[in-house]
Symmetry: C2
Subunit: 218 residues, 2 copies
DNA sequence: AGCTCATGTGAAGAGCATTTACATGACCGG
DNA sequence: CCGGTCATGTAAATGCTCTTCACATGAGCT
């Protein structure tokens, strides 16, 4: 077993063997603990047990690490949305609602990723990979919106993009303002999930979608 | 005229005379230019023409300056919303829409304030003044929502707080994701203002509010 | 004029970002 | 098994920022 690289334990040799992943994990911990601004390259290196210069073999600078965290976040986010949407099963309305919950769940359970993705000020320009992952994640939302609209009466269907942007903005607004238990909290009369569900329901009703809630169940 | 303090020009003496204000202005410039994270205490001091230690006579540390910027931002924000709401004239629906535009206008014209208020991660706890200013600004939105709801048929009025939170989340989501020309831009099929107006209209329609748009005019 | 205290300075310690020259050893061909 | 090469890691150095402390200045009061 010549497992000098990966493996269950920590390799202690001169070479770390898995530094990039270790740096990502360290960054996530630090961002979760002290915010995207408080995370430092040097501390991530320390956490990974390497010298402060080592990270530069994997990332041009601190921003590039942050950008990579954001990109991976978008990929995970996309996967979570895809999973929740589940191709619109059992019906688009139900799946859409489930996707909204998944949105908030991601923001709550992965605050570090979410922060890097939307609040760290990482510019999408100049990071084609990041832009692509971001677009792909939004694409899931857009596709779901399209399918949902297709179930509506044909005479007055809204523009897909507009509706997708509305849903995204509402979801992000709720996640950003009320979605995390960390700090800027404000006492709410209802949970973020309930808030998003009610908001989406009212919005859909405004579009002329008949209330599809089964009277029973939340 | 013993004007050794304020005045039109720059006082050059040992004492600055107006450092606190100068630091705020420097902070706003720097935040607008390089983001809330990129702003440094030392650079603000340099910009104000004082030594790096001088700011500590006015703020305990960098975070307290940021917090003060956020507080002033909320106060200006509140004033802008109050002005736009104009006590619901000529009618709550019109005034409400105007307030939405003012929300986005503030986010666009004062990105530094907006950033400090919502994206810099300044904790509301431990800053009672900040919390109070924040609450006051939200109070304007809440009050306007209440007045708007009062014009609705009495049988199915929504909870004021829920609706206010929905409107806030939608506004913040749009402002945060699409409202600034700075970076994370994404090509939109419509302006942020149109997006917010349409979203609010649909939401209100979902609440059962008859479409009050005058068919003409945007 | 003289006092006093808020306000500003200079210097210093500690931490971080980043670069550069150098060290190590993983992997590959022989 | 041997030696070379190159990705990966280190040490040291520079320059910046944050923050504190002892000290300087002068604005405003008496």
């Amino acid at each position: 077993m010549s497992w000098s690289k990966k493996g269950g334990g920590e390799s202690r040799g001169y070479h770390h063997g898995n530094l990039k992943e270790a740096l990502i994990r360290a960054a996530l911990d630090l961002i979760a603990k002290k915010g995207a601004a408080g995370f430092t390259f040097a501390e991530a290196a320390r956490w990974a047990g390497v010298s402060p210069a080592a990270p530069y073999r994997h990332y041009r600078d601190r921003d590039e690490l942050l950008s990579d965290v954001a990109r991976r976040g978008f990929d995970l986010f996309q996967a979570a949305l895809v999973r929740a949407w589940d191709d619109g099963r059992p019906d688009p309305a139900t799946a859409f609602d489930r996707m909204g919950k998944a949105y908030l769940e991601f923001a709550r359970n992965e605050p570090a990723y979410y922060s890097a993705m939307f609040e760290a000020g990482v510019p999408l320009d100049g990071h084609p990979d990041l832009r692509q992952s971001s677009d792909a994640a939004f694409g899931v939302l857009r596709g779901a919106t399209e399918k949902l609209i297709a179930t509506m009466p044909a005479q007055n269907r809204p523009p897909v993009m507009m509706m997708a942007l509305h849903i995204w903005a509402l979801s992000h607004g709720i996640a950003s303002l009320f979605g995390r238990g960390d700090s800027a909290r404000r006492p709410l009369p209802m949970s973020a999930e309930e808030l998003l569900e009610a908001g989406t329901l009212l919005y859909l009703r405004g579009l002329g979608v008949p209330d599809s809630s089964k009277t029973t169940r939340s």
